[in-house]
Symmetry: C2
Subunit: 311 residues, 2 copies
């Protein structure tokens, strides 16, 4: 399935860089108060990144939109993690996003699109989007999955069911037996071998996932940011953020890989919220909104076919 | 080096259980306001534990003192983690403590003493104490190490240098290149083979480590709890607690082992503070007390021989 039309790493890197710009613009416009600040950094073996953070905005309390394109000889750590036996040069580029809003009625969101290649010619794409509401809104969760299904279906009707399940399994806090949020899609190691599609076709899918992010999240920002909330609801947000921290530091393979292979700590850990809390054995009251939210933090919910009313 | 005088698991369990009682009493007395609440729990394969938490005390904001004694067939996860090849029954007992105070001038402390045995007759003791000041007090850090050295020297003058270095290496936040605090002692896999001491002699050492905890920490509590502090210093405490969370969730083998082998999540994660914060790329001001503290969060400081003035 090789073709002359296959995208090279320069084209992919350029797309991701522009995607970062577009997403930052969209979030700034929706936030209306603060702008992203940028840190440029260089990777020890080659390349580098643009870490962008928005802090204390009108809607976003702390949000990162990171781009990087790094390369060099694969380190021993990387070879072990990726199960590569021979010496090789690598090239990795991607965009990674986490947004933590002030208002507990606005969900946390995460998106990542990435490309990796080795000097022996192997390559793969990976990525995903998942939504973590502090308070479940069934209508919005369903709409989120419908949008992702649309994006997937345009490229392969097999994608959504498979990548939705992959997200359920990936964004799972094993020791809590709960999902991080309402899931989304997750995919990895996409290439000609795994998909029977050309590199161009796979890249087109990944591009569309990346481009879906800004309209999805800015709508959630503007729709929910005006909702009122109590001190108790703010505290629940901090507890849910604690679970977000637990997932990212204990189970997220991307975070662990980054920290173990000498990635830039501050760029990796921009995913952590400004503030999180842990109460021993916290359990929401019977019949509460918090309990309702917890009841939806599980695998296998068929969001697209859920019958819900707008509210 | 086997002897008829060797302690059996019943004696060891009984000691740890009483140690939990004595330490809780001492902390309650020093705190003066709140008492520990107890949760009894059972392990799925046998045995169980007593999780005790003190919350919103006069001095301690959130502190756990846990005892457990669990047994049963070693699970596949446990065998993989412990590199055991054959089927075996295990027995594990220990006391584990983390105290998070309100006042940033009072350090966080951790202590653990534990015993593990397998049905094939192999056994080992492990444990450690380490201190994590939010603000370094050189005199107190030195006194802490002096006390630990005294405890070690009574049993073997080789212990302190070896276990102090082990703590430096263990309580290390690799991705930050900083130690969790000013260290202490750490030891593992102590038995007749590794030490050329009888089981009774090793147990006597572990007992004395456990018994050293209460006088060390209650003195720090009562000496420092009256010190005044600012909002900025409280914020710095929350940042340091964030590093504590990072260490425990990313690097602490005990936490990872517990979460991966189906340990009781709420008992394991009682080590997390009530509240922690993360600011992107935070860096203390030149010449500040925060910068001074950071400068001591490194391996290899010879605390016992450091020349310091009381302050």
């Amino acid at each position: 399935m090789k073709s002359n039309n296959d995208p090279g790493k320069e084209e992919i890197e350029e797309f991701f860089k522009n995607l970062q710009d577009k997403i930052c613009d969209a979030i700034e416009k929706a936030d209306g108060k603060k702008q992203f600040e940028q840190d440029l950094w260089q990777h020890h073996s080659g390349g580098g990144g643009r870490t962008r953070l928005i802090q204390e905005g009108a809607i976003i309390e702390k949000g990162g939109v990171n781009f990087s394109a790094v390369y060099g000889p694969a380190s021993e750590d990387m070879k072990r993690q990726l199960k590569i036996e021979k010496d090789a040069d690598f090239f990795a580029t991607g965009v990674s996003i986490v947004q933590h809003p002030h208002n507990p009625m606005v969900p946390i969101i995460h998106m990542n699109v990435r490309y990796f290649e080795l000097s022996d010619g192997t390559y793969w794409f990976g990525g995903g989007i998942d939504l973590t509401p502090h308070y479940i809104n069934l209508f919005q969760a369903k709409a989120f999955h419908e949008k992702l299904k649309q994006v997937c279906d345009k490229h392969d009707v097999g994608f959504y069911p498979q990548y939705k399940k992959w997200a359920d399994d990936y964004f799972y806090i094993v020791h809590r037996q709960e999902t991080r949020g309402v899931g989304g899609i997750f995919f990895d190691h996409l290439n000609e071998q795994s998909l029977k599609k050309s590199k161009r076709e796979i890249f087109n899918f990944v591009k569309e996932v990346g481009e879906a992010f800004a309209p999805i999240y800015t709508q959630l920002m503007t729709t929910n940011a005006g909702l009122s909330y109590s001190e108790e609801q703010k505290e629940w947000q901090h507890i849910r953020r604690g679970r977000y921290v637990e997932f990212n530091l204990v189970w997220d393979r991307g975070t662990k890989f980054g920290l173990a292979t000498g990635g830039r700590t501050e760029s990796i850990l921009m995913s952590l919220p400004k503030e999180a809390k842990w109460f021993y054995n916290h359990s929401p009251a019977n019949g509460s909104k918090e309990e309702e939210t917890l009841s939806y933090l599980k695998k296998g919910i068929d969001w697209v076919n859920l019958e819900v009313q707008e509210r």
